[in-house]
Amino acid sequence: MPVLTHLEAIRQGLWEEMERDPSVFLIGEDIAAYGGAFKVTQGLLEKFGADRVIDAPISESAIVGAAVGAALMGMRPVVEMQFMDFIACGFDQIVNMAAKIHYRWGPAVPMVIRGPSGAGVHGGPYHSQSNEMWFVHTPGLKVVVPATAYDAKGLIKAAIRDENPVIFYEHKFLYRRIKDETPEEDYVVPIGKARIAREGTDISVITYGAMVWTALEAAQELEKERISLEVIDLRSLLPYDEEAVLESVRKCNKVMLLHEDTRIGGFAGELAAVIAEKAFEDLDGPVVRITAPDTPVPFSPPLEEYFLPNARKVAEAARRLAVY
């Protein structure tokens, strides 16, 4: 099987879907001739032409809104946000228009908004945010956060084929750092299904996105100390795989919830509530959250490192929880 980077996997997913379905097209800023700020869409203009790889003015509202209009006309637009931080500039069109049309009057709005999110590359407060929860709290949207290259490709294809607006979070730290064997034949990864990234017995770590790799790193470290972590990669946040979460909690009886997003209102809070409601009797210890603190993402390397959860912090928390 060919080995692809996270970024190449997304590009290949876009490519294949555009080949398969002429209604798929791309729209965003600097995505055509330039190939995108991170070069995710490089080569697509040459292959598919300017009608299907469209450079837009710096108008996020108009870009998202035009995508909704095109979706209503039977197209499947894929919008690129140059950085997911700038999705705020198109917020109204996403939460008030795209998310609600189907519920309000019936038509499907099949579209994807994708782009780089997350910290770790010293991007500062406007090139580093994990703002997925803005959209997880908006019924009508789907929110997808892949960790592996295999999943990135399978999920972007699933997102494009979905009948609903899907917000697709790519982690810029993973783009060129993560490689995977990725099959050439067509496959999709279903939205809403979690994956056991690592089987374990003592503590279940439930996480998503780049933090999956952090959890795996911690798990490897703790193996030497005979603490066995199970790592659940949620892959989708809306909808999410509640059953996979509960199953892992029931198996390990201890649980840590890990994300790069800040703490209050983060996804860990929702998971903690569901675990308390449905698996309270299965718990042998407190639910532990490992998240970023409630601040903007700072720029300078020591500050950013302090801000971000990492394997050391996960391992320390796991050691404490293991002896609880």
């Binding site: 800023e29 003015p57 996020e60 991007g123 406007y126 700072p298 300078s300 950013e304």
Partner: protein
């Protein structure tokens, strides 16, 4: 010329233009040495717009720039060290390492910090004008946007708002030909940006953004309109981004001839020619200025390099005022 500058003022303008260029060159050098954290966004070729307009402002006026307006911030009194510290993510920088590059400000210096979302400072500086109006203060707010930012929501909403309330706002559109990789004719159908002024019912001027004196004078006129209650001014300053979007971008999408043409219009070279011709700058005076520049750049780079990174736990300082 509407307003006669003193010899010292001509020299000031020259000094800040050169300082802007020197800071720019130094940043490129630091970037190549691997000492910069993140990207470097050059103002090469656009110095006259930032310097000429900022120099025109009075001490009570406010400005808020964008990424290429370091020159304006230098004019408002930030030492070059602040720029170096910011780009190197050091503790002693104005944001203490929280934000990058020229994303810093200081209310005492009348500078609002830029942000990455383009156009966002237009409503913000309109707000500065609004506060001045309410408190009956003689003050204008000035901000810069690129040609690309004219396509954004805050550009439109901010300008229309300021037009209706006749606020003392100056928006300088630095039409530098490119928004990242997007040429201006892919950004808008009517590339005469100054035409937008009519659409809002405000004053508009199209000027040569590479002529520091023209920028200065246009800004002075706009300030007068603002002070007199005649509302905002939109200034289209024609200029050219002489490098890529950031240091990593080789800008191969920009036609070579375009760069060649604009190299002839270098704002500093041409200003120097003017000063020499008008006998406003002797070679001795020039040498003094260069020595001053050498000194400040050398000292400030040293200072910045000596400054430590911030302590990690400073990340958890309270976010609320």
């Amino acid at each position: 010329m509407a307003e006669k500058l003193t010899r010292a003022q001509y020299h000031d303008l020259y000094y800040y233009l050169r300082l802007n260029r020197r800071v720019d060159e130094q940043l490129t050098s630091l970037y190549r040495q691997g000492k910069v954290v993140g990207g470097v966004y050059s103002s090469l070729g656009q110095e006259a717009t930032a310097v000429g307009s900022a120099y025109a402002l009075g001490p009570d006026d406010f400005l808020g720039g964008m990424i290429r307006d370091v020159g304006a911030m230098l004019v408002r009194g930030f030492p070059p060290r602040d720029v170096f510290l910011q780009y190197m993510a050091r503790r002693d920088g104005p944001t203490g390492g929280r934000d990058a590059n020229n994303h810093f400000g200081d209310l005492k210096r009348g500078v609002m910090a830029p942000v990455s979302m383009l156009g966002e400072l237009v409503p913000l500086l309109a707000g500065v004008g609004l506060a001045a109006r309410i408190r009956r203060e003689r003050r204008v707010g000035l901000t810069y946007v690129g040609d690309g930012a004219t396509s954004t929501t805050p550009f439109h909403e901010g300008l229309n708002f300021a037009a209706v309330l006749k606020l003392p706002l100056i928006v300088i559109v630095e039409n530098n030909g490119w928004a990242y990789s997007t040429p201006v004719e892919r950004q808008m159908a009517n590339t005469k940006i100054v035409d937008r002024a009519r659409a809002y019912g405000i004053a508009g001027e199209a000027i040569d953004g590479n002529d520091v004196l023209e920028v200065y004078e246009a800004t002075r006129r706009a300030m007068q309109r603002g002070y007199n209650g005649d509302g905002p001014t939109l200034i289209e300053a024609e200029t050219m981004r002489m490098k890529g979007h950031a240091e990593h971008d080789d800008a191969r999408y920009v036609p070579k001839e375009m760069l060649e043409t604009w190299r002839e219009r270098d704002p500093i070279v041409n200003y120097e020619k003017f000063l020499t011709k008008e006998k406003l700058l002797t070679s001795d005076e020039k040498a003094v200025i260069e020595a001053r520049l050498d000194k400040v750049i050398r000292e400030d780079v040293e200072f910045a390099e000596r400054s430590p990174f911030p302590a990690p736990e400073e990340a958890a300082q309270p976010v609320w005022a």
